[in-house]
């Protein structure tokens, strides 16, 4: 879905959100209360510089509006694949962005990430997957790994892998698979504004994904193992 269309549906009373290249920032209201908006567009690749822009913006939001809900709009093609990015220690930059998201959480802000475009690998972890809730809208395409990469590693015939992908949600790209694994809290098809308002009103403090993966039958082992270890 196009960014403008998403914004119109999310914030029918209007919003003050601007794009500057790949960066999306601004303010809006949900259920009459202010929310901050931070996102990316154009399937941006996330490197050290993009990470710092996002982290600085988020720090600014947390400092100026502690406790205000933050809506993250997710659309990226993953991390920048380059020696110069890794030379500077890209994982440390991603971790910094996650630590700032954690600061927002600890300051009482609820983080709701809405996946509306692509979301790939490390970029998805750095921006989207560590929000308090991650939802997607129809048409969004999370893909941890492309099937071709899995093909190279497993050396399985393409036909067999493709047919497995239709029956087993554990590895194949796509929102429905990711939902079954508990990775998406919900998939929205309409009434985005109402859904957002409802989420912001609810308790988002716990990571529910292992339980959701179990309920939905995609990840049947995780929850029981985590519980067993805590109780051991």
């Amino acid at each position: 879905m196009k960014l403008q269309e998403l914004l119109t549906q999310l914030f029918p009373n209007g919003c003050d959100v601007a794009t500057n290249g790949w960066l999306v920032t601004g303010e809006a209201t949900s259920g009459g209360k202010p929310v901050s908006v931070l996102g990316t567009t154009d399937h941006v690749l996330i490197g050290v510089r993009e990470t710092m822009v996002l982290a600085d913006k988020l720090l600014e939001i947390v400092e100026q509006h502690p406790g205000r809900p933050i809506v993250l709009l997710v659309d990226n093609d993953g991390q920048r694949l380059a020696l110069v990015e890794e030379l500077l220690a890209l994982p440390e930059y991603f971790a910094h962005l996650l630590r700032v998201q954690r600061l927002a959480y600890l300051s009482g802000s609820k983080l709701v990430a809405i996946l509306y475009g692509n979301a790939v690998a490390g970029g998805f972890i750095a921006f989207g997957m560590l929000a308090d809730r991650l939802v997607s809208i129809s048409g969004a395409e999370p893909s941890v790994m492309k099937l071709e990469a899995i093909l190279r590693v497993t050396k399985m015939p393409l036909e067999k892998l493709t047919s497995l992908a239709t029956t087993v949600p554990v590895f194949a790209p796509g929102s429905d698979n990711f939902f079954k694994m508990g990775g998406l809290y919900e998939i929205w098809t309409d009434h985005f504004a109402d859904h957002l308002h409802r989420l912001i009103q609810s308790d988002l403090s716990k990571d529910l994904r292992a339980g959701l993966g179990q309920e939905r039958g995609g990840r049947t082992a995780s929850k029981a193992i985590i519980d067993e270890i805590i109780a051991a």
Partner: protein, 295 residues
Amino acid sequence: MKPLFRISYLEATARQRIAGLLDRSSFQEIIPPTKKQISPHLGLFGAPVSWDDGAIIGEGQLEGHEVYVFAQEGKFRGGSIGEIHAAKITGLLYRAAQRKPKAVIGLFDSGGVRLEEANAGEIGATEIIRAIFEAQKAGVPVIGLLGGGTGCFGGASIMSCCCDVLIASEEGRLSVSGPEVIETVMGVEAFDSRDRALVWRTTGGKNRFLFGTVAVLVDDHIPAFREAAVAAIGQKRSFAIEALKTEARRLRERINSYGDKSDASQIWETMGLPGPGVSEMTAKELTEAKLLSKP
């Protein structure tokens, strides 16, 4: 000069590393291999499984302090993060958040998310990161060790950088995308993954130490890791807004100072270190040289 007698961390298995790191015979494994908790997914691909899914977790003592430990076995499917693997580490961290040992020690050795379980692994990796944050919130620091043969890539690299402190040997390579991935996608001229010297000086523990990503550099010697881990107990990173602003300034300055460099040896020379000579220095020599260099 390297120490003459070394017990290699690099060559050891995850279980040998734990045994060498903790006080003698103090390790109590949780969900040991006898429980046969194997991956429910690998079989679909005709891939071999392991009774611990490449993740070993438990409790032990370090210099008399109660610590929890998780260790990734790089020799089983590249230490990759699958459903069971991730759940074991996540569970241990939540247990730590509740029971508050002195620290959690994480022995990273992983190529990242397991491709055959890509969705479960990616979600699991972020559940681990969330659980690291929960342990830290409960006041339990997480200490990361990097020195395994597989390195620390993808989701594992990001979670390791969320630790309170990282201890590494030169051999402990750390990056989001592995050199092979960059070469496959961008071409050999972008990153020649078979140029071992290039790989090590770009992603290796020395470069990470000189930037401060890694706090303590050690030689590839298990007792050296142990000594550094003992000294690191109690070190905590703050989530105060001022601390995060300082972190942001440090990371921005790194881009401003070195963002135009294409090779680690140029960076080291700018820092006032003997560019190519850095590779020859022991951990102690480089630690002393770093004190005199420009940040």
